[in-house]
Amino acid sequence: MVLVLALGDLHIPHRASDLPAKFKSMLVPGKIQHIICTGNLCNKEVHDYLKSLCPDMHITRGEYDEDARYPETKTLTIGQFKLGLCHGHQVIPWGDLDSLAMLQRQLDVDILVTGHTHQFKAYKHEGGVVINPGSATGAFSSITYDVNPSFVLMDIDALRVVVYVYELIDGEVKVDKIDFKKAATSHSSH
C-alpha cells in the first residue's frame, strides 16, 4: 500500500499565493510515501514545503520554474507500475491525446503524469493511463477557463491502483475515486 501524491502547476508566487487552506489542512506529513510533481512550482519555498511532506520527491521542469536543474522527464517504478513524469508544455499540441501517447511509448511507462493544462483528466489511451492532476492552487491558465484547484493521490497496491481526485469546487472539497488494474495480459483494465 503505497501512497503517491501527484500535483503541479502551483505558480507560486506569480499567479497564486498559496495552496487553498482546505488542501493544506489535509496534507500532513507521515501519510504519503512519494510525491511526484509535474512542475511550475515555481520557487524554492514551495519545493521545501513539499519536501517536508515527504522526503521522496520527484519533480520535472516546468517553463516558469526558477530552478533550472530539474529534468525534463522522469520515470520511476512504484510497486508493479512504471510511472512517467513530464510537465507537458514540451508536448505539442498541448493536451493532445495522441501526442501524449507518443510520449508514453517513448518513456515506456504504464502511467504518465503530465500537467500544464491546469485541468484534471484521467483516461486510458492505447494501453496506458494518462493522469493530469490539474493545478493545485487553481492558478490562471490561458488555455483553460474556470480552473478549479485539484490534485491527485494514488494508492498503489501490487497490480491495482486507486486514484483519489481532490477538487475544490465552490469552496468545498470533493473527492472522487477511480480504480484500475494492470493486467498481466493487455487490456482487461476497468
Binding site: M1, L3, S25, M26, L27, G30, K31, K121, A122, Y123, K124, H125, E126, V129, L153, D155, D157, R160, V162, V163, Y164, V165, Y166, E172, V173, K174, V175, D176, K177, I178, D179, F180, H187, S189, H190
Partner: protein, 503 residues
Amino acid sequence: MLKLNLNLSEKTKRVLPDRLGSLIAGFETKEEEDVGESGLGLDHLGEELETFHSCGYDLETVSDEEEWDSMIRPIPVKENQSSVVSVAEMISADEKRSELDFEANQMGTESTVDGLAIVLFSEVPLSSSRSCFVMQPELMGTQSIVEEFAVVLSQKHINLEKLQGLSSSGLPDGGGLRATAWKLLLGYLPASRDMWEEELAQNRLKYASLKEEFLLDPSKSTNRNYEELVASELEKKHDLDGLLRRHDISHGDHPLSNRKASIWHQYFQDAEIAEQIDRDLQRTHPDMKFFSGDSSLSRNNRQAMRNILLLFAKLNPAIRYVQGMNEVLAPLYYIFSTNPDEQNATNAEADSFSCFVRLLSDSVDHFCQQLDNSSVGIHSTLSRLAGLLKANDEELWWHLEITNKVNPQFYAFRWITLLLTQEFNFSSIIRIWDSLLSSSFGVQEMLLRVCCAMLLCVKSRLLSGDFTTNLKLLQHYPEININHLLQVAQELTPTSYFSLVPV
C-alpha cells in the same frame, strides 16, 4: 528449697531408689511388689538398670529371656531403615492426599474417607503408583522427570495441582512439554484433554477474525469493496479507451480523511504505535537469532509479535502499548513457536496472543499511569514488596529504605512490570517463569517473593554498600544460581496483604 524432714527413716531410704527406678516406664508393678523388702528392691533396681543399659547388647546378664523381652522398650521400625524411604513415604502420602482431593473433586463427593478407602483397598491406578515410585527428581536423572510429566499430561483429565507441584521445580527443555504445561497453567487449555482440539481451533479462529477486523490494510479493504461494486454493477462492458469512470466519494473514505470513523485515519494513528512497537522489537534480545537480525525467520517472528502487540494495543485503548510489553511476550512466543509439534508451532501466534492477554491481565494495572497511586497500582505493589522484605529481614529492609534511601521504585519497577525478563539471561528467565506460572500463590505473589529473594541473596553486598553502589547493583543484578534463588523465594515468610509500609 523446702526444709525436708531430715529424719529419714529407713523406709524412706528404701522408697527413694524405688521411686527413681519407677521413672523407667512400665516397671511400676514390679516395684510395688518389692517395696517391703529392701534387699530385693536394690537387686531389682540393679536388674532394671542393667536392662535399661543393654538395649539388646549384653545378653549374658539377662536371666530370663521372656523377662527380657517384656522389659525391652519397643523400638519403632522406622529408625532401622534409611531416611530416604521415610521421606519417600511422606511424599507418597502427600501425593496420595493430592490424588484423593483430586479424585474427590472429580467424583463430586465431599468425604475423603470414602476416597481413602477406595485408594487403599482397591487397585491403585497405574499412573499414581508409578508416580509414587519415582520420587525426588533431583536424585533421579532427567529422563524420569520427562516420564513423570508425560504421565501427568497424558491423563484424560489433567490434575492441575500435581502439574503445578511438578512444574515449580523446573520443566524439562525440549519435547514441547513446557509449551503444553504453560498453556495449561495459564488456563488457555482446559484441564480435560478431550476439549483441547475444540478450544484450540476456536481460539485460533477468533484470533484470525480479530486480526482481520483490526489489523487490516485500508487499501485491501477498499479493494474488497471495489470487487463487490464491480460485481453488483455488472460492469462487463468497459470502454477500451476514453475517460476513466469517476465515483464520487466526498462523503466516503479517502486516505487524507481526518474523520474519526475513517479507517484510513485510524490506520495512520495506529502507525504511530506500530512504529514504537517496531522499534522495541528490533531491540528485543539482540543476542538471539530467533528475534534479531535480518534472516527471514527473525523477520517473520518480529512480524508475528508486531501483530500480537498491535492487536493488544487496539483492543485495550486504555493502556495501548507500553514499552516493555515486547519483553513479556518474547518468552511466550519463543516457547510456543519452538514446539516440535508442527501444528502448534504454526499457530504459535494465536496461542501466544491469548496467553499474553491472560498473563498480562493480572498486572495490567501496573501499566496504567492513572492507577499509579491507587490500591492496585504499581506503588501499592512496590510497598507490598517492601513489606515482604521487612517481614523477612528487618535489618536489610532498614538498611535499604532508611539508611540508604534506596526506594523500591528505583529498581523493582522494572522487575515487577516486566516479570524479571530484563534481569537475567534467557534460559534463566524461562526457569523463573516455570516457577512463577506454577506457583500456588499466584503469579504476582510469587513474583514479589522472587524479588524479595533477589534482595536477600545479595544481602551482604547490600549491607556493605552505600546509595550509589547498591542502586547500581540492583539495577544490574548479578548472575546467581537460579535454583537457589527460587528455593529462597519459596521459603519466605508471607506477610499479610494489607501491611503497607510507609515509603
